[in-house]
């Protein structure tokens, strides 16, 4: 961390994580170096079980790394968490079924001890941002899966974090909904200036969204290749028709194949 001239949004240096259990040790992460500039959009792609979720959990202070250094906005994850520097979007919407949409979004603010009028107002703004302003009084079961995940995004944004950690947020959705939410995410990212770490195993999704893609191999989990995505922003439906888009998709696929070859 020390000695950086510019504070990075996310930074990991020689990060390692070893899980020990009765069945033997598993090296989930090994020597992972990662740098994401503030305001950058980094996707991590790799086969299932390659440790990409562990990496995200290390940033979100849910897992303690065994070796190496890690920081969010120049702070240790625990400090960053206390300072509400990041929001997490989980694989499932993870909404509390007994709360209305609005009260799900206010949950983090309630934990922080923000007073009710303020947190309701903030939550409504966030719901407007994800296009669900008129659903504030609904309960989660009345919403489709895609809408639920948008509520989860609104919840993650409610504390106004400068970093968004997203763990395969659209993995459980159908392709059509996923494409729409990708557009939506681009729009939201355009309005905020957040740093995003995005875990996925969809190649097109990674290419469409990111400014940079990290390809991971499994067992031990390490980053085998970094691919810059030089597609122009703003990205929209036409982006997907660009020849460069296809070239990048092919490049990422090749990198993934090589990564799995290294592993086996």
């Amino acid at each position: 961390m020390a000695g950086e001239s510019e504070t990075l949004g996310l930074h990991a240096a020689k990060l390692g994580k070893r899980f020990s259990s009765k069945g033997g040790d598993v090296q989930a992460l090994e020597e992972v170096d990662l740098e994401v500039k503030q305001g950058g959009f980094m996707s991590i792609i790799g086969p299932s079980g390659c440790g990409k979720s562990t990496l995200l959990r290390a940033f979100s202070d849910l897992v303690e790394p065994s070796t190496g250094e890690i920081s969010v906005n120049g702070k240790m994850p625990a400090e960053a968490r206390a300072a509400r520097e990041f929001g997490v979007v989980f694989q499932s919407p993870n909404l509390l079924p007994w709360r209305t949409v609005l009260r799900n979004v206010t949950l983090p603010l309630q934990v922080m001890g923000v007073d009710r009028p303020t947190r309701n107002q903030t939550a409504l703004e966030m719901l407007e941002l994800v296009g669900l302003g008129s659903f504030a009084r609904h309960h989660p079961w009345q919403l489709s899966g895609g809408m639920q995940q948008r509520v989860a995004i609104a919840r993650a944004l409610s504390t106004n974090p400068s970093v968004l950690l997203m763990d395969e947020p659209f993995g459980a959705l159908d392709e059509i909904t996923r494409d729409r939410l990708n557009l939506e995410l681009m729009r939201i990212w355009g309005q905020l200036s957040a740093t995003i770490l995005f875990i996925t195993h969809s190649i097109t999704e990674a290419v469409f969204l990111s400014s940079q893609i990290a390809v991971m191999s499994s067992r031990p989990g390490r980053i085998t290749e970094l691919i810059d995505v030089n597609l122009p922003y703003p990205r929209n439906t036409e982006t997907r028709d660009m020849p460069e888009f296809y070239e990048l998709v092919i490049e990422v696929r090749r990198a993934l194949v090589e990564a799995s070859a290294v592993a086996s």
Binding site: F19, S21, K22, V26, V63
Partner: protein, 272 residues
């Protein structure tokens, strides 16, 4: 800390975790139980409590050993009454559930009824039973059947109400009624019936002991407890209570084993 524990425990050795029982599962309750007994024993000895009031565990245990033959005989009789009651009650309940499961409103009505019948105080109904069956073993059996039936009805009706793609399969191969029953409907209801039994069987022991307490066959746990307690033989009462608990645990284990055998194909039973 906690998060890690859970996530990684599942990954590498999910296959053989079922076989090895973690020591804590057996050891911790044993420690707690031993501590509980020790405190009890000490409290009685140091507090100089009269045997009449509360006997020490060691005293109860030696009486339990001494009367073991008699207590087993009593427990067998009680268990038989409970077993008969469970059989009769389940038979009626499952039959009824099978009969009405096509008739929506009646099924619904009986369901809401049986959920309330479960609240009926057994002690208030037993005297009524004795009007019909006399103060005999039959009244105890009837009481158990009445107590068990609503539980079994609730579970069986849930089991019969399931529809699945299998129904379409049966239709597509033009299965007749008998095949549909034996190959699909009954096996599909079985997990629910077993779940019902896991609740009903331990309850049946309690119901029969309470009923016996008020009369019934003489050589049963409930009757013995009443007789000894009126004579203020507190130690004998406690040793019978120990036997009653053992009987409760025994039938619970027996049902769990049956459950495991019958439902070895069922996904929810594979790990546990």
């Amino acid at each position: 800390m906690t998060t890690e524990g859970v996530t990684l425990a599942e990954e590498p050795d999910s296959k053989d975790s079922g076989k090895r029982l973690p020591i804590g599962v057996v050891l911790t309750p044993t420690i707690f139980f031993a501590a509980f007994l020790a405190i009890w024993e000490l409290a009685v000895r140091l507090g100089d409590v009269q045997v009449l009031m509360l006997p020490a565990p060691s005293v109860i245990w030696s009486r339990f050993i001494k009367d073991f033959g008699l207590l087993v005989e009593l427990a067998v009789n009680t268990g038989t009454e409970a077993g008969k009651g469970v059989l009769i009650g389940s038979f009626i309940a499952i039959g009824l559930a099978g009969l009405v499961h096509g008739i929506g409103w009646l099924n619904q009505g009986l369901l809401s009824y049986s959920s309330t019948v479960k609240a009926l105080p057994v002690v208030a109904l037993y005297p009524v039973m004795t009007i019909f069956f006399g103060v005999t073993s039959k009244a105890v059996v009837a009481m158990v059947a009445v107590g068990v039936a609503p539980i079994m009805f609730t579970f069986a009706s849930r089991g019969f109400s399931g529809t699945s793609e299998h129904d379409d399969l049966m239709r597509s191969i033009s299965a007749n009624w008998r095949i549909r029953m034996t190959a699909l409907v009954l096996p599909r209801a079985l997990p629910y019936v077993m779940a019902g039994l896991r609740t009903a069987v331990p309850l049946s022991i309690i119901i029969s002991i309470i009923s016996e307490y008020f009369g019934g066959s003489v050589s049963t746990l409930g009757a013995y407890i009443r007789r000894e307690s009126t004579m203020l033989h507190t130690v004998q009462v406690w040793s019978a209570i120990v036997m009653a608990c053992l009987l409760g645990v025994l039938v619970f284990v027996a049902v769990s084993l049956l459950d495991r055998y019958f439902l070895r194909w069922h996904s929810s039973r594979r790990e546990t």
